[in-house]
Symmetry: C2
Subunit: 340 residues, 2 copies
Amino acid sequence: MSSSSPEVRVPFDDAYRAVRDAVGRLGITGERGDRCARLFVEATRDGVYSHGVERFPVFARSVRSGLVDVAASPELRAGSGTAIERWDGRRGPGNLNAWFAMDRAMALAREHGVGAVALGNTNHWMRGGSYGWQAVERGFLALCWSNTLPNTSGAGEPPVVGNNPLVVGLPRAAGPLVLDMALSQFSVGVMTGYAQRGERLPLPGGFDASGALTDDAAAVVSGGYGAAIGRWKGFALAVVLDAWAAMLSGGRATHELGTDPAQESGQTQFFLAVDPDAVSAPGERERMVDGIVAALKAAPSTAGGELRYPGEGTVRTRAENLDHGLPIRRETWDLIRSVE
Amino acid sequence: MSSSSPEVRVPFDDAYRAVRDAVGRLGITGERGDRCARLFVEATRDGVYSHGVERFPVFARSVRSGLVDVAASPELRAGSGTAIERWDGRRGPGNLNAWFAMDRAMALAREHGVGAVALGNTNHWMRGGSYGWQAVERGFLALCWSNTLPNTSGAGEPPVVGNNPLVVGLPRAAGPLVLDMALSQFSVGVMTGYAQRGERLPLPGGFDASGALTDDAAAVVSGGYGAAIGRWKGFALAVVLDAWAAMLSGGRATHELGTDPAQESGQTQFFLAVDPDAVSAPGERERMVDGIVAALKAAPSTAGGELRYPGEGTVRTRAENLDHGLPIRRETWDLIRSVE
């Protein structure tokens, strides 16, 4: 983990207990507290540091400021007897709401083969990949996304689209495939790291203040904008994912989420789950995905090593962090244990 | 339309009748012939020239060589009473199979709110956007994709993933949103055009033979490889879309489709449709999408004009081509009228 604060290594169980106590002091208790803490700690365990316990201080501030209502649970607004439902997140904790929504999508998929949930009026779901892992660990395929406030540029224009994270999960006995990616080429955190180290980005991944495409990380983070993947293609994908989730949930679109990241609230999300047993046999689909992975592994890579599938690195990082303890910035760890 | 052959302008109805007669002579008659011809001609009408009637000669060769079985219709393989079904395309005409699959997904969505079809053993679906328009014109949201043979590189390695076209459609009274994009930054056709004109690509969109990222179109098309959008991100997205469709359909994955574009057959596809009436009211969702479009239109663009939503340009091109006739290369037009 890159960090400007000294780092501690905390055993998983200790981190979990500390975060569970901390969210309890914020008012999230019982099973909801267990789940909320687990989502924070597992993101750090899996190497998604920016959206794990390092994000807890932001979450705590959002609770204090009223952006997140710790007591709120989703309420059903539409869809009855169908394989799609619409839920109002009521500005509850974003990770609990998203977990609930994927759980509902899976319940609908168990019944109908495929299930979908449109969720409006929620909050930042933290690590999107959590909901992909949630599904694949229970044998489901999953596709979900969230909108965000406008933070990504297609061609150098001031942002009007979000970097709308997109998650795709596929169960597999020998290691599931879980893609968790934002539609921007680099996160602000990654670009800030390059800028601080005085390094160029590995490819032009943003625009400077004049709107010119650049690999100068410092120029992007100071007055410029991050670029959408594939520029006009990622821009267009961001537009339709935002519109899809908003029109089905009745929730806020990107342009209705304001422009201040510290005030971002009321996001809109969409969750799809498929029960593969509805159309295929386990042995057949394991062979299918094993074959895809084997083809990747047999192919030459530019780095000389093996090409990796989405989710492969996660399992490796998870094992390392379980062995050596979760890396947590000292000041974050202190805050977690002291938050009131 | 960029072209090395002189071009004729053919009224829509004349083009439709000529293509219908031509597909009839290939053995596709009756309603199937009408539909097949319409899909070719409407793609050209809408400006997707490479996948409209200009592709008819390739299609005719595929029929002659036996890659496409004009007599084959999809057969149901799994899924009964559920909202997801698995169909075997039996190597029938790819556009007819894809149309059928989206039609089935919509029928399932009418019943369950959401419907999905996994289609294996099919053929090139020509213009993917056709199936997005098919859905939005009937009031459905649509998400679908196809795999392709390996033709796209993430980091300069020889291709192991396809450029798997991805389509997202959203109905809207004042103009639907339809995204139709491959996961490669540029098509081979577009890059060849830049190379022939001696122009650089507008951004590094491929790799040269040594695997270096470049904006030199000639270096990409002669021995290099097209780049995935967002490089490792588009690469990873291509992997999971391929695996998703293959594991549910039992059809071929990208690595099983060979490497010769002239022999590409047996593709695998996935179709999802949502009936928005299941969870939202028409007036509410029209306002929602109108608001998103209005926000785009109000934002500054780098070109000085308006930002466009996916599908907006299609409607404009369609009107122009209906006014002035469809632009068709003279040699294609001659072949369509003479094919036996």
